[in-house]
């Protein structure tokens, strides 16, 4: 069922066990066609290992997966030409220019038309803003430029699926914005994008779906709105009479009310925020500030794992 056409990536019980450690633990990853799927998790949570399995670079210890509706790695020859990938950072021949490196990659692709290589290479370099530096040796490239070149390599051919492992690594804020924009425009062209990141805020804005990895397990996945709905918005009241404010909030039905030095926070539930302010004023509690905070993905992650977004062993 999961290998149906509607999923660009579908894994079933995918597991990779290295000698001591279970790097990826029976995950069922589902990336719907057309989605921009944010594959999130701290460094060492198993994202890259999962991606390496998806592309057939390493063999799963158990479980199986489909890419674009076809079983992998059996159909790698048919599927991978439709998949552009950036895995574990950029890797090119240091003593070749950026242009020669892309030509090299194109020349090993049996689906590539040699008559259009020049134009496609230039087009891909242009799209990531490297055309002016196309004839510099890769050795002389900065980390940010290398990252862009790796993205350019995924654009040499028309793709149905892009798998981008930490594409914003080493990029400055401007470069990060550009990559986000690029991901958006690729998705607009109809490609499905699976983008991994250990920086939640970076991908939050472009993703339609997210999946959260933690110590080899996929904790949650789905449309971003659904995943977020799990944790409700919280109201935050600044006041010099926190005890009274807390009493009012509880009376209104807010849950998990917490008081900390001049600030009272509570989960809103279905309550309309306006009503909270009105009640506080009505009870004579001075309100110095009021805010409704949608929990960030970071908060969500903490609530899912009980720990911060740090490296997990």
């Amino acid at each position: 069922m999961t290998e149906g056409k509607e999923f660009a990536v579908a894994t079933e019980g995918l597991t990779k066990r290295f000698k001591q450690q279970v790097a990826v633990d029976t995950i069922d990853l589902l990336v719907p066609r057309g989605a921009v799927y944010g594959f999130l998790g701290p460094n060492g949570s198993g994202k890259t290992t999962t991606i390496r399995m998806l592309l057939g670079l390493i063999r799963p210890t158990s479980g199986h997966h489909h890419l674009l509706g076809k079983a992998m790695p059996h159909n790698a020859g048919q599927v991978l030409p439709l998949v552009g990938s950036l895995v574990e950072g950029p890797a090119f021949h240091p003593y070749l220019t950026a242009r020669s490196n892309l030509q090299r990659l194109d020349s090993v692709d049996r689906h590539a038309d040699p008559r259009t290589t020049k134009a496609r290479v230039a087009g891909a370099l242009d799209r990531v803003g490297l055309l002016a530096a196309a004839d510099k040796k890769y050795r002389a490239y900065s980390l940010g430029m290398r990252q862009r070149l790796a993205i350019a390599a995924t654009l040499l051919a028309p793709r149905e699926l892009l798998v981008l492992d930490e594409p914003t690594n080493g990029l400055d804020p401007q470069g990060t914005r550009e990559v986000r924009h690029l991901i958006g425009s690729l998705a607009d062209d109809g490609a499905t994008v699976l983008v991994s990141s250990h920086l939640l805020s970076e991908v939050e804005q472009v993703c339609s779906h997210i999946g959260v990895m933690h110590v080899g397990r996929l904790l949650t996945q789905g449309p971003i709105a659904e995943v977020r709905a799990v944790s409700a918005p919280r109201a935050r009241v600044e006041t010099d009479r926190p005890a009274d404010a807390a009493r009012v909030l509880r009376a209104l039905g807010l849950t998990d009310v917490v008081v900390e030095s001049g600030v009272v926070v509570g989960t809103l539930g279905t309550l309309v925020p306006d009503k909270v302010v009105a009640s506080l004023v009505h009870e004579g509690v001075p309100v110095a500030g009021f805010a409704v905070a949608q929990p960030s993905l970071e908060d969500l992650f903490v609530s899912l794992t009980g720990e911060g977004f740090n490296v997990s062993g």
Binding site: L55, G56, P81, F92, H93
Partner: protein, 286 residues
């Protein structure tokens, strides 16, 4: 690339069944690399030194190698002398460098995973890599031979060639004999390259693979020189290399040469298959 192009059906990209692009790309990588060009330059120095040294030295009797003694009579012998001297270390080192780099080099800088993601089938990768190693082997051997022949003919002239068996042949047939000897050695070195290709799949350190090839090569020569191990000699990868002199007998003594070619083919086949067996289900973590 326009959005329209990206959106175009990927099915519009038909598979090219026969293409030499990958192989040509490999050859560009090998021969375009400064280090390898320098290596070929060093290979060319030896025949030039031989030619000049023989030219300036006063003739004296001694235990010079067979070909050395004949250089003054025909410049082509410089090519054969250079080959016999460089087969001990320089040519195997050159082949070992290219072969050691072939897979381990790509794994080392990480480009291997991107080749597989293109995708390049692992069998195809090993076939193309071995073809490139073999072509390099041919080019390097012919290069040494050619530089030797040119330097030799310039300093000593050509003309009639006195074969090892005493008979004389004309310049044309002499050139053919030298070409045959050169190609024979190129095949021998290519089989060493297959061993190097196998070692290259075992590691992500290209220099380690190169050193291993050179060690194996020297070890083979050492074992070949221990009389007590004579039962082993005919199976050593380098044992039949010196037989290339048999091309200069009249008629050509094909017995050992055939054994040499079969040994080379055997080593190439066994080690290519070993590389394939090792490589076909290997996890690519580099």
């Amino acid at each position: 690339m326009s959005a329209a192009e990206l959106a175009a059906s990927p099915a519009a990209r038909p598979l090219r069944h026969v293409s030499t692009r990958f192989l040509r790309s490999e050859l560009r990588l090998i021969f375009g690399r400064r280090r390898n060009q320098a290596g070929l330059g060093i290979l060319a120095v030896v025949p030039i030194i031989i030619a000049i040294a023989v030219k300036v030295s006063t003739p004296r009797s001694g235990h010079a190698p067979d070909f050395f003694a004949s250089i003054t009579s025909n410049g082509l012998f410089v090519a054969l002398s250079a080959l016999s001297i460089e087969m001990g270390l320089f040519l195997p080192l050159a082949i070992g460098t290219i072969a050691g780099d072939s897979v381990a080099g790509e794994a080392n800088i990480g480009t291997l995973r991107y080749l597989f993601a293109v995708p390049v089938h692992r069998t195809r990768l090993l076939a193309v890599k071995f073809a490139a190693i073999s072509i390099f082997s041919l080019v390097a051997t012919v290069w040494v031979s050619l530089v030797g022949a040119v330097a030799g003919l310039a300093l000593f002239g050509g003309g009639q060639m006195t074969l090892l068996s005493g008979t004389q042949i004309g310049m044309g047939p002499a050139v053919v004999r030298v070409v045959m000897a050169t190609v024979y050695l190129a095949v021998c070195f290519a089989s060493l390259g297959a061993i190097g290709l196998f070692i290259s799949t075992l590691t992500e350190q290209p220099i380690g693979a190169t050193i291993a090839v050179v060690i194996l090569n020297v070890m083979s020569f050492i074992l070949d020189s221990i009389p007590q191990l004579s039962w082993l000699h005919e199976w050593l990868p380098t044992h039949w290399w010196m037989s290339f002199g048999d091309f200069l007998r009249d008629p050509i003594a094909w017995g050992d040469l055939t054994r040499g070619l079969l040994t080379a083919a055997g080593y190439a086949l066994v080690f290519w298959l070993a590389a394939w067996a090792r490589f076909s289900d290997k996890d690519v973590t580099g």
